[in-house]
């Protein structure tokens, strides 16, 4: 089994290659091939998982070395060794199962969802490409290969957000996602360079093994750069602004990439690099701050959006904020970060697919104010969506309860003032989550119909989606319900990850709290959130046009001025700086470069006149060359 | 120089004889000219008239000349072999047969492609 690891990313990669190179010829069966590649990859992942279950202890970590890319034998202090090698341990197996599992479901869902799109084959090739890149990311045994996957998912994300590139908004969103991601990528590349300089290797084993020998400052710098990378990919503050716009992509993309898998790459990166963060409390503190800010930020944005997908995007941001917060808490939080990541993968993907199903039935309407009363028309969608809803707000015994509750508990048990602040933020986040999710469910499925006829005056005819869309939603709902409970039994998940993340430190809850009381407090907060939403939206009439609202609502609708902040703080000064630079560049640097280019060009223009076309002048140059050669070699001797 | 003396003597004798024959014929023979006698050769093919301005030969001449040169030059390898035939033995014979066979392939090509036809 171990020798088959490469096939896990290999199958989707072949799928993507065949679909991209085959072109229109593969239109007829391209979607099936795409699904097969994903399912095959899932089957392999499952096989590898069971193989791993059959082993014990250190033997569980599998390794496959494919080849070395341009090894430079030890001339310098650090021989440059860039291996293409995969490492499958307890952490990556969780990821490959999640990626291939949810990925397969979403592939199947897309068959129905994209059935009317003429470019469906291309869509599947991009999805396969994404799967391959994401799997390379989590399977890599060194940072350089991880970087390959990291850029690969960025590319796939760009292609898929801009899939309907004819829409200017989609093209702009793709570009925005790409540019913002680049900022994070720069962080990762700097981190990798620092690692190579410090440890002389990219390899996880070497880096983590020798991390203790590096200075605190270096480790903190690497940690901060890794955090920057995570912020970019996982849409964390202050690089969060792209995720909302990314909802311009087809909904399966939002579910797979911008909810379940790619956006969690940042969490993976931090947990994978825990050896570095363990040694740098400063970097860890920053991670928790980023997580706490984002979890509130996302939740507030989620409250104000009327676009169902954008509201879910805010929620995603917020939930990943939880994970980042947990990861920043160190050994007490790593396992819960990953656990929440997995449960979130299930319920958020389910919610997105539900949203997609609603949109599918409502002629691509996304405004929740134009929904209402859909419960009766789409029973399956409603059922699965509601289960996902219960999971995300943390209602026991659904999966979100187990994972989120643990994160809140871990935040409080950090101790000290920071523990109270972080715990409080997490608790508040839970309240707000309950509020906006309830709002979403009420506005979509309950109340009266607020359907709006389309431009040609056709009333929407909501209908249940086909089986290919319903089945994945059902399966994900099962995950949303059961995953948390299963993972928490006998701390199964925590124990499973222990060899990778290190033994879990037991925190102590402050101020007379214990885990039961804290659970009750959390549930009370959730209940308050639900109650507010029910009072506000369930009893009265929901206006079809959004009221002006308070300043917080207005701000939240505008993503808490995230774009405005970017524009004022980064874009304007950036443009100013660019203009100044362009000016100096034009006058100074370009003057020199252009002068040089003109010199080269001029030399070239003059020299080519020597190529007269006369064979005799060529012969003369040869004769002269021969004479010069003889003269030079004799002169060198004498 | 001694070894070249007989050659010089031979050359001198030959030249003397040639001059003697021609001069004696001129002096003693009858002189009756007609058109046929003024030709460069008194019998055989009439020589081609020399074209104006140096003139050009048909490409056929070039082709034939080339073929002559290329087959003629192969003899260069046959000479040493012929001279040392005894000591080169079977090895030399086999190698030379291969060599000549290869030349025949070229010959076959020239022949089949009409290189030997004048018209």
């Amino acid at each position: 089994m171990e020798s088959l690891i490469w096939l896990v990313p290999g199958l989707p990669l072949f799928g993507a290659a065949i679909l991209l190179l085959g072109g229109k010829r593969t239109n007829a069966w391209g979607h099936l091939l795409g699904c097969l590649a994903a399912l095959g990859s899932f089957a392999l992942a499952a096989g590898l998982f069971f193989t791993m279950l059959g082993k014990h202890g250190a033997a569980r970590s599998m390794h496959q070395h494919l080849y070395s890319w341009v090894p430079v034998p030890g001339t310098g202090q650090h021989p440059f060794q860039a291996d293409v090698a995969f490492q499958l341990d307890q952490l990556s197996v969780v990821f490959i199962l999640l990626i291939t599992g949810v990925g397969s479901l979403i592939h199947i869902y897309s068959i129905g969802y994209m059935s009317h799109d003429p470019e469906r084959r291309k869509f599947f090739s991009y999805l396969n490409l994404f799967l391959a890149a994401m799997l390379i990311l989590v399977l890599a045994d060194n940072y350089l290969l991880l970087y390959v996957g990291w850029e690969g998912v960025g590319l796939a994300s760009y292609l898929l957000i801009g899939f309907w590139q004819a829409k200017p908004s989609a093209a702009a969103a793709a570009k925005k996602a790409f540019v913002v991601n680049r900022v994070g990528d720069v962080g990762l590349s700097i981190a990798i360079m620092l690692m190579f300089v410090t440890f002389g290797s990219f390899n996880f084993g070497t880096v983590f093994g020798t991390a203790g020998g590096a200075s605190k400052g270096t480790l903190t710098a690497i940690g901060i750069m890794l955090l920057l990378a995570a912020c970019g990919k996982s849409a964390q503050f202050p690089l969060q602004s792209w995720l909302g716009d990314a909802m311009e992509g087809p909904t399966p993309v939002s579910a797979l990439i911008h909810a379940a898998t790619m956006v969690t790459a940042g969490v993976y990166l931090i947990v994978r690099s825990h050896a570095i963060f363990d040694l740098s409390p400063t970097a860890r503190l920053l991670v928790t701050i980023v997580g706490a800010i984002t979890l509130l930020f996302g939740a507030i944005v989620g409250c104000a959006k009327d676009d169902i997908k954008k509201s879910l995007a805010g929620s995603t941001m917020s939930q990943i904020g939880y994970m980042i917060l947990a990861a920043g808490l160190g050994p007490i939080g790593y396992a819960f970060a990953i656990m929440h990541l997995v449960t979130h993968g299930f319920f958020k993907a389910g919610l997105f697919l539900g949203a997609g199903s609603v949109m599918h039935g409502m002629d691509d309407e996304v405004n929740m104010r134009h929904y209402g009363g859909l419960r009766k028309y789409m029973p399956i969608t409603f059922g699965t969506f509601f289960l996902g809803y219960l999971a995300i707000i943390g209602c026991p015994p659904f999966s979100g309860f187990y994972s989120k509750d643990k994160i809140i508990e871990a935040a409080f048990s950090k101790g000290g003032t920071s523990g109270w602040i972080l715990g409080g933020a997490a608790l508040l986040g839970a309240l707000i989550t309950a509020f906006y999710m309830t709002r979403m469910v009420i506005m979509t499925f309950f109340g009266e119909k607020r359907w709006v006829p389309d431009a040609e005056g056709h009333e929407p005819h909501p209908h249940e989606s086909p089986l290919s869309m319903g089945l994945p939603m059902l399966l994900l709902a099962v995950g949303s319900v059961a995953a948390g409970f299963l993972f928490s039994m006998n701390s199964a998940f925590v124990n499973w990850l222990e060899p990778v993340t290190g033994p879990r430190a037991e925190g102590k809850l402050p101020g007379g709290l214990n885990s039961t009381t804290l659970s009750i407090i959390t549930l009370a907060a959730v209940a308050v959130g639900v109650a507010i939403a029910v009072v506000k939206y369930g009893t009265g009439k929901v206006p079809a046009v959004a009221p002006r609202g308070s300043f917080i609502t207005v701000a939240a609708r505008k993503d808490l001025y995230g774009d405005a902040f970017n524009e004022a703080a980064l874009m304007r000064p950036g443009q100013y700086l660019t203009r100044t630079l362009v000016y100096t560049d034009n006058r100074g640097v370009d003057g020199a470069i252009n002068g040089l280019a003109a010199l080269v060009g001029g030399t070239s223009g003059r020299l080519r006149r020597l190529q007269t076309g006369f064979v005799r002048s060529y012969a003369l140059s040869m004769f002269g060359g021969a004479a010069a050669l003889v003269a030079a070699i004799l002169f060198a001797k004498l | 120089m001694n070894s070249y003396a007989p050659i010089l003597v031979l050359g001198g004798l030959a030249a003397g004889f040639a001059i003697f024959s021609v001069v004696s014929g001129m002096l003693t023979g009858p002189k009756r000219y007609n058109r046929a006698k003024l030709e460069a050769y008194e019998c055989g093919i009439e020589p081609t008239p020399q074209p104006v301005g140096g003139g050009r030969f048909p490409v056929k001449y070039y082709l034939t000349a080339m073929l002559f040169i290329i087959f003629d030059i192969e003899i260069v390898f046959l000479y040493p072999w012929a001279v040392r035939f005894d000591s080169l033995g079977w090895f030399g014979l086999v190698e030379m047969v291969f060599f000549i066979l290869t030349v025949f392939v070229a010959y076959g090509y020239v022949w089949r492609r009409g290189g030997l036809e004048w018209d």
Binding site: Y67, S68, W69, V70, P71, V72, T75, V600, G601, T603, S604, G605, L607, R608, Q611, G613, V615, S617, Y618, A619, S621, M622, G624, G625, A626, A628, L629, V630, A632, I633, L634, A636, K637 | R84, S87, L88, G89, F91, G92, T102, V105, A106, G108, Y109, W111, R112, R113
Partner: protein, 562 residues
């Protein structure tokens, strides 16, 4: 007493008869003769190729015109493939054979394998005759007819094909196989001529723009003959110095001879003229752009890729086997040549408007890079040269293959002269002017993508063969102490990246040229060109992504026998 006399007075000459005539040489011949041992297995690659060429001649002679094409294609491809199998079977061999005229060692085998693969791909391009819809024959119907004459039209109309190109190419390939294997200078000279003479003819056989083609052939021929005269004079001087033309004897003579080295140095310099001419190094490069532009494109591809491999192979062997003792003399000279070659190649390519001409200057530039490997005089230098030659060869054949597919469109009328309909558009010659390539990315994304791969490889962008190759070469050169050359190389690369990338920009970001309606068109070739293109793209990427195997092979192959 002149210099020469003083040189030769003490040379291992003829002490008994210094002032005698030239008649007594036979007296030195002994009467015993032992047949040299010939290891036929080692010679098989060459024998097979020459044999296939001879069969090709017989096919020309004895099959009717219309039935020659497929047998020729079959015999040529089979010959090359069988020869390649022999090369593979001979791996690890290290011996000299045929009276020490040929040495078969790692370098020979690696280069022979490379040449055969390149020849195979080039043969596919040469064999391209188009599909039923378009005629893509690159060669004139009958070389003997005058361009534009009635005879040419008649030959065209009769559907005649110049199938002689196949045996001619095979003879050339045979010469190329022998050139890097030649263990004495006489064999070198013969191999050089055997590889060159067919190429001169092939250059002049283009179907379109025959005037240019014939001019290219004439220039190549006159300059090539000129350079081989220099080469031969070099051989003669080295023979005069060492009393033998065997490379190992020359090496021994250099280390043991007490005489002044003037004779040997002059000989080496003249020898270098011939070799540097073939690789296209400055100042012996002037023929390259003209000939590359004028020759039929498949032949240009073959010439640019395979000749370079063979010539560098010979250069490697001569410098590493015969002249290691003179390292300190020839290295500075080659330094100068390499610097000039890189700079001239990079600078002149910038202002080219013709794609084939640009690729020719790129070939000159690359010759400069490869000289770095020769100069480094380490086994790493040899292996990196071997790798680069292979990487460069494949990318070159691919790039020229793309050139064959971008054609001008001719409105109305075709070659046969029935220009009645105004709207019919027929496929013309290759659109080699760069302006015609504008917007190619939109018209034919796949072809443009292929060409992009080759341009990126030439520019040395990572994940292409060009990067790996340059990396290996530059590392070897630095190890060999030639870091100033590497600096020049990097500067030249930067300048070169400009014109490579310019083509990419032109293809993807420029508006297509629309002059008088019909612009250039991209033709769909038969599977032959498609296969060649696919293989070259795949190899170019594979040697960039997974270079380890090929690098290991080159490392293992970097050994000479004396």
């Amino acid at each position: 007493m002149s210099v020469l006399t003083s040189l030769l007075a003490a040379s291992p000459g003829d002490p008994t008869n210094p002032g005698g005539g030239l008649g007594g040489a036979t007296s030195t011949v002994t009467n015993t003769f032992t047949a040299p041992h010939v290891e036929y297995r080692a010679l098989m690659p060459m024998l097979v190729v020459f044999g296939a060429a001879t069969v090709g001649i017989l096919i020309e002679a004895f099959l009717p015109r219309t039935r020659r094409y497929w047998p020729q294609v079959g015999v040529s491809l089979a010959g090359v493939v069988v020869a390649f199998c022999f090369v593979v079977a001979n791996h690890g061999m290290a011996e000299t054979t045929a009276a020490d005229a040929v040495s078969v060692d790692g370098v020979t085998l690696f280069l022979q394998g490379t040449i055969l693969l390149l020849a195979l791909l080039a043969l596919l391009l040469v064999a391209e005759r188009g599909t039923g819809l378009v005629d893509l024959d690159a060669f004139t119907a009958q070389g003997a007819t005058t361009p534009g004459s009635g005879g040419e039209r008649a030959a065209d109309a009769a559907g005649l094909r110049t199938t002689e190109v196949f045996p001619l190419m095979l003879f050339s390939v045979g010469g190329m196989l022998l050139f890097p294997a030649a263990n004495d200078l006489l064999t070198s000279f013969v191999a050089l001529e055997v590889l060159s003479l067919p190429l001169y003819l092939l250059c002049g056989l283009a179907r379109r723009r025959r005037l240019l083609s014939q001019e290219a052939a004439m220039k190549y021929f006159l300059l090539g003959a000129f350079s081989s005269a220099f080469f031969l004079y070099g051989v003669a001087l080295l023979y005069g110095y060492a009393g033998s033309v065997r490379l190992s004897d020359i090496a021994t003579a250099i280390t043991s001879s007490p005489h002044s080295d003037v004779l040997v140095l002059a000989g080496v310099a003249l020898l270098a003229v011939g070799l540097l001419f073939k690789v296209g190094a400055v100042p012996f490069h002037a023929w390259t752009p003209d000939v590359y532009q004028g020759a039929p494109t498949p032949i240009t591809a073959f010439m640019a890729a395979a000749t370079k491999v063979a010539a560098f192979g010979a250069l490697l062997r001569i410098t590493y086997v015969a002249l290691p003792g003179l390292r300190w003399d020839w290295r500075p000279v080659l330094w100068g040549v390499a610097i000039l070659t890189m700079l001239v190649g990079a600078i002149l390519a910038i202002t080219q408007r013709d794609i084939k001409r640009m690729l020719a200057y790129s070939a000159i530039l690359n010759a400069g890079y490869i000289l770095l490997g020769v100069i480094s005089t380490t086994s790493k230098g040899v292996s990196s040269t071997l790798f680069y030659l292979a990487a460069y060869g494949f990318a070159t054949i691919g790039a020229f293959a793309v050139v064959t597919l971008v054609r001008e469109s001719v409105r109305g009328g075709s070659d046969s002269g029935d220009g009645g309909e105004e709207d019919s558009v027929t496929v013309g010659g290759e659109a080699t002017d760069l302006s015609a390539w504008a917007g190619l990315g939109r018209r034919s994304p796949l072809l443009a993508a292929c060409f992009t791969v080759f341009m990126l490889a030439f520019a040395g962008i990572p994940l292409t063969s060009g990067f790996t190759g340059k990396f290996a070469l530059f590392t070897a050169a630095i190890d060999g102490g030639a870091w100033p050359l590497v600096i020049v190389g990097v500067i030249a690369s930067a300048a070169a990246a400009f014109f490579y990338v310019r083509v990419i920009v032109l293809m993807y970001f420029s508006e297509p040229l629309r002059e008088q309606g019909a612009g250039p068109i991209v033709v769909v070739p038969s599977p032959m060109t498609t296969v060649a293109l696919t293989v070259t793209v795949a190899l170019t990427i594979a040697l960039g992504v997974l270079p380890q195997m090929a690098l290991d092979l080159a490392d293992k192959a970097a050994y000479f026998v004396q």
